[in-house]
Symmetry: C2
Subunit: 183 residues, 2 copies
DNA sequence: ATAACTATACCGTCTGGACGGTATAGTTAA
DNA sequence: TTAACTATACCGTCCAGACGGTATAGTTAT
């Protein structure tokens, strides 16, 4: 055997998490290589060892999102309360791994990152399909846009001190709205 | 008399429009001073003659938005079809002056521009008020989020060759959805 | 057993380019 | 004459990425 098994790459995950956090809390502009390295407690050189370019770092982040998204689509299809209700609930910011990955990717889409945009389009299509199966094709768009609007507002809520306001109160009325659309 | 009247500032409006277009079509990152000047057919010096800084340029753009927004809120309040239906209709991308100013400002909010974020929050509050008067406070949020979702999707449709897809078809189903929420 | 070697996991510094902004000297049109 | 420009050179800062070096841990030949 030529290969050996030296130290574990602890920095790798730390870098990815730091990148995600910076995107969410301060936006794409703030997520520079230096800032990411600093927050991850890693040197810039160390960062670039694991991710040869910023683009590579983004790729891995989007890959991670894809996995979480696939699992969520499955859960949505099997949700007992129906796809639409599940979708609205899961559109509320809850600081889950999916939420974080999604909003982070949103920051990239905002600055016109091609791959991020493509993944969003794909996700939207899958969601719309499931929603149509639940509330019919006519109302599916209405529900989809409601969920998107929720994320749009999460986008406007910035910073580590971001309010993440009374979304809990919104949930009831939104679910009630979905109920009316279904009938 | 016949006081000497100097030339009209033709470049000023051209610069603002170019800035707006670049924000909409290519995002904030692409809207550099050089790029704006180039698109406006103006020298960089000429641009900085009218707008001493980029921040000043942004300010004027947001001012323009505020004026258009105020007029739209008035129209929404007086709309015979009701505030909610008007709101949904006006949330569809139609390449109006308001739409352009709004999406351009969205690009700034995306990169956490403080003033842009504040103006959005204010606009949202006014809209929510009017919507509550039309469909009730419980359903108002649902309608608001639908409109926001529409803009969220406009945001994802990028580039000069951006599709601006079958939104017309969406309108019917969304208005139908609003009808159900009102009852 | 240990010296020599190898592969991985980092660190710190430097470079080249882009961007916001300044400065300045000249040109055009009302 | 004066405001409204054009054209160009330049500065300081920030950023992505390159590069060379170091540290650690396992492997192999002796």
């Amino acid at each position: 055997m030529m290969g050996t098994m030296p130290r574990k790459p602890v920095a790798r995950e730390a870098v990815l998490d730091a990148f995600e956090s910076l995107l969410i809390e301060e936006g794409e502009r703030a997520a520079t290589l230096d800032a990411v390295a600093r927050r991850a407690g890693v040197s810039k050189g160390g960062l670039l060892y694991h991710f040869p370019s910023k683009e590579a770092m983004i790729s891995v982040l989007l890959e991670r999102l894809d996995g979480l998204l696939a699992a969520d689509v499955k859960a949505m299809a099997d949700a007992p309360e129906g796809a639409a209700a599940y979708f609205i609930k899961s559109s509320l910011w809850a600081d889950t791994r999916l939420d974080r990955a999604f909003v982070a990717a949103t920051r990239l889409a905002e600055v016109a990152h091609e791959e991020a945009l493509r993944r969003f389009a794909a996700a939207q299509a899958r969601w719309l399909e499931l929603l149509a199966g639940d509330v019919g094709p006519a109302m599916a768009k209405a529900v989809l846009y409601m969920g998107d609007g929720l994320y749009f507002n999460a986008m406007l809520a910035r910073g580590p001190g971001g309010p993440l306001p009374e979304v809990g109160a919104d949930l009831e009325s939104l679910l009630a709205a979905v109920g009316r659309l279904r009938s």
